[in-house]
């Protein structure tokens, strides 16, 4: 169906997972809602319409509604996606919505990605391990623009959690760093401002929750809303990890 052609307005049927852990009466179940489709309707618009006109207890998360902040990852017809940029015109008349797996459920479609990502940042020490303290009177250190572009590419992850939810390993091993975590590691590895040497990266990258725990199915690369080059990230980390091994032998 083309995005322009709306000769007949579709009646959309949403089958949404419901569970409120704060309510002792609540049991996991599916609720069904129907609304009329509108041109350029996104799941952001549809879910708000449902909450505001049919069931104001419905929980979900949106903030920027422009695919920048990463709040609205959810399972759309069984596949992780950002709700804000998912157009209903691209979906069948019946839409199945579930919360992202692998994260703690807050309620309905809302999950706790914040805690997961904070813990990941702490475990991987995802900050610049500076070599010298900041000197407010000194000009900036130089960097080639190509390198800045390369670091920015890794920095584009919006921590929506879609890759984690799609990952067969992350769903059974909650400690697996998953694509988001390993991409973050690679981003700091290529940054010359970070003073960590290979021995300091060793445990993070090569440990049981590091890059070699990946099962290689690469669903993460299929679902990443930012189209991050996750295949290259994993390949880079594996090569670096082998390099570390040789160095340490």
């Amino acid at each position: 169906m083309s995005r322009e052609a709306f000769e007949t307005v579709r009646r959309l049927r949403f089958e949404i997972f419901r569970f409120n852990p704060e309510d002792p009466e609540s049991k996991p179940h599916i609720d069904t809602f129907e609304i009329d489709e509108r041109p350029y309707m996104t799941l952001y618009m549809a879910l708000n319409e449902i909450r505001e006109t049919q069931d104001s207890s419905l929980q979900f998360d949106f903030a920027c509604r422009s695919a920048i902040c990463g709040s609205c990852g959810m399972m759309v017809n069984g596949r992780p996606a950002l709700g804000c940029r998912t157009l209903t015109v691209d979906l069948s008349e019946t839409v199945h919505l579930h919360p992202l797996p692998a994260f703690k459920l807050i309620g309905d479609l809302s999950v706790d990605t914040g805690t997961w990502f904070r813990q990941m940042a702490e475990r991987t020490e995802a900050w610049i391990h500076e070599q010298l303290p900041f000197d407010k009177d000194a000009p900036e250190e130089r960097m080639s623009d190509d390198l800045a572009d390369a670091i920015y590419e890794g920095d584009r992850c919006i921590e929506c959690g879609c890759c984690v939810a799609s990952c067969g390993v992350a769903n059974v091993n909650p400690d697996f760093l998953a694509a988001a975590g390993l991409n973050r590691v690679a981003r700091f590895m290529i940054d010359p401002r970070d003073g960590r040497d290979d021995s300091e990266w060793y445990d993070v990258v090569k440990g049981p929750d590091g890059v070699f725990a990946c099962g290689g199915m690469m669903a993460c690369a299929d679902v990443c809303p930012k189209a991050l080059p996750l295949l290259e990230v994993y390949a880079y980390l594996r090569r670096r990890a082998l390099g570390m091994k040789f160095l340490s032998d």
Binding site: N20, P21, E22, D23, P39, Y40, R51, E52, D55, S56, S57, L58, Q59, D61, F62, A63, C64, R65, S66, A67, I68, C69, G70, S71, R85, I106, G107, T113, G114, F117, R118, A121, E122, A126, W127, I128, E130, F134, K136, P139, E140, E141, R142, M143, S144, D145, L147, A148, D149, I151, Y152, D155, R156, I158, E159, F188, D191, R193, D194, K226
Partner: protein
Amino acid sequence: MTPQLITTDVLVIGGGLAGERCAIEAAAAGQEAMILSLVPPRRSHSCAAQGGMQAALGNCVKAEGDNPHVHFLDTVRGSDWGADQEVARIFAEEAPVAVRELAHFGVPWTRVRGGKNKYFIRGESVEIDELLENDGLITHRDFGGTAKWRACYAAAGTGHAALYAVDSEVVRLGITVRDRVEAISLIHDGNRCNGVIARCLRTGLQFAVMAKATVIATGGYGRIYGGYTTNATINYGTGASLALDTGIVPLGNMEAVQFHPTALSPSGILITEGCRGDGGFLRDKNMDRFMVEAEPEKQELASRDVVSRHMMQCIQDGNGIDSPNGRHLWLDIRHLGEKHLTTKLLEVFDICRDFAGINPAHDMIPVRPTQHYSMGGVRVNKDGEAYGMAGLYAVGEAACWDMHGFNRLGGNSLAETLVAGRVVGARVAEYASGAILQANTSLAFDALGAAEQRAQALLAREGNGRSVYEIRDALGEVMISKVGIFRNGADLESAVSEIKGLIDECSRAVLRHKGPGANPELAFALRFPGMLRLALTVAMGALARSESRGAHFRTDFPLRNDREWLNRTLAHWQPDASAPTLSYEPVGLIGLPPGHRGYGSDERIEMDQSVGQYNDAVVDAQESAGRLASVEAMGSRLPQSEREAT
């Protein structure tokens, strides 16, 4: 399970760039800092800043000769002389340090490529040789209302890169962040702020946080314009309404509301000014570049208030493009080429594809001016201290510090968050290290009890009528149609009366869902009355200000009036009052005397006193208010030539 009362040294409400940078400063000084945030901090609206951060490093050819003084002059002209010039100067001087500090934190700033570079300037393709000796330094792009190229950037994801770098420092320092928590009232005794009552958005439980110093860093109030805003859904203006609720702390210049020229039509999603900075055009339905005639000098790169007015005029003159969602204009960046669009403007490329189904390398972008930034906010002094209440601070967009006056320049807000975070954070740390925690638990439990009672009363309310969401939509319609880009007395009077009606209606609105837990409808019903009070404050401020200055434009008073209105609006909301009380203070000491901005109208009503007389009155007013102690007089900071000029 959250205890009912927790304590910390420095409490920061809001996990965006300003709040996090402030918390870092406090933590680095040895204070225990805690951040409360509606969302995980990396999802704060700072991440949506796209095009750049202004700082006068002067590293590329088109930035040659730039320095903080030129940045200061641009900022004051951009503000239409509404800014506090001392603050604008502190800001401009500190901005280069803030940008370099972000480089130290890991932001991958776009760098100078020595040798031949192709740019688009004023509609022409130009080749410029960047100095080889500057290769690898942080480079700049052009933005509106600036004399030099000054915006430092990381593609069109500058805010994202900055927020991730600053948040990584927060993690490194082990600062506690409680996400999905909303502050719902301040704990205070009328003189000093002791923390907040907060509500957990996971469980619905309310609790008290007591602190030596409390920092409001909750961002802007764009969502009082309903869906007619570029702002995230979380930009409720919470901090401003908490301050207003004290009845003691005033809000400054709430009527100063910025409309961004290029929001995607109809969704309202921001398309960065960097598009025009990098050479993009605005076109009307005849494909004419109407800005060339309207502003021959700056063209598309006049200040946002000026460009937005020309665009609305163009649409009102019948030259907009009709669409089922109303009229819009075109932003044309096709000539920049697909490579540029998929690297330096990548986020714009993605937004066009995802939300408009177009490729900006081949298609023009439908745009329309849309509410974007809140120049107004919690009125604070140069140290970030809220007027009238010890231990309370505000920083970033939530504050009226006031470096933006009546119009903020693009790229200055990102820079403000970091500069103010550093400056105010240092003052907060200093205050907290000299203060003791006033563990007056009865004050906290009284406030907690009142908050509980309010929530229970809301849940218990019965009756019919419109939902809080329907009233929110009605408010958005009033604000965009009557308190928008072109304002007039009759519309504003009608807006004031309609908003009062909505406040009354909201006090009777009934919740549809009364179940336990987070209850998103209850959360909205708790915050929405505050948004209505902010909206009334904006409308009344706009009605009273019978002149045009920056983004505040009155068709019935089209001139800037420096004789009567070279001042800042202060709004208090007395307990149990039905409307705010307005008063005025001078804008501050004047270094650059009022004049022509270099774009927009050159007509105005001149001051009838000398700058010297004005400044004497400012000093008297500041002394009588007792707010000058920690700030050196501006005269000592002015270069000699400028002192003589004034």
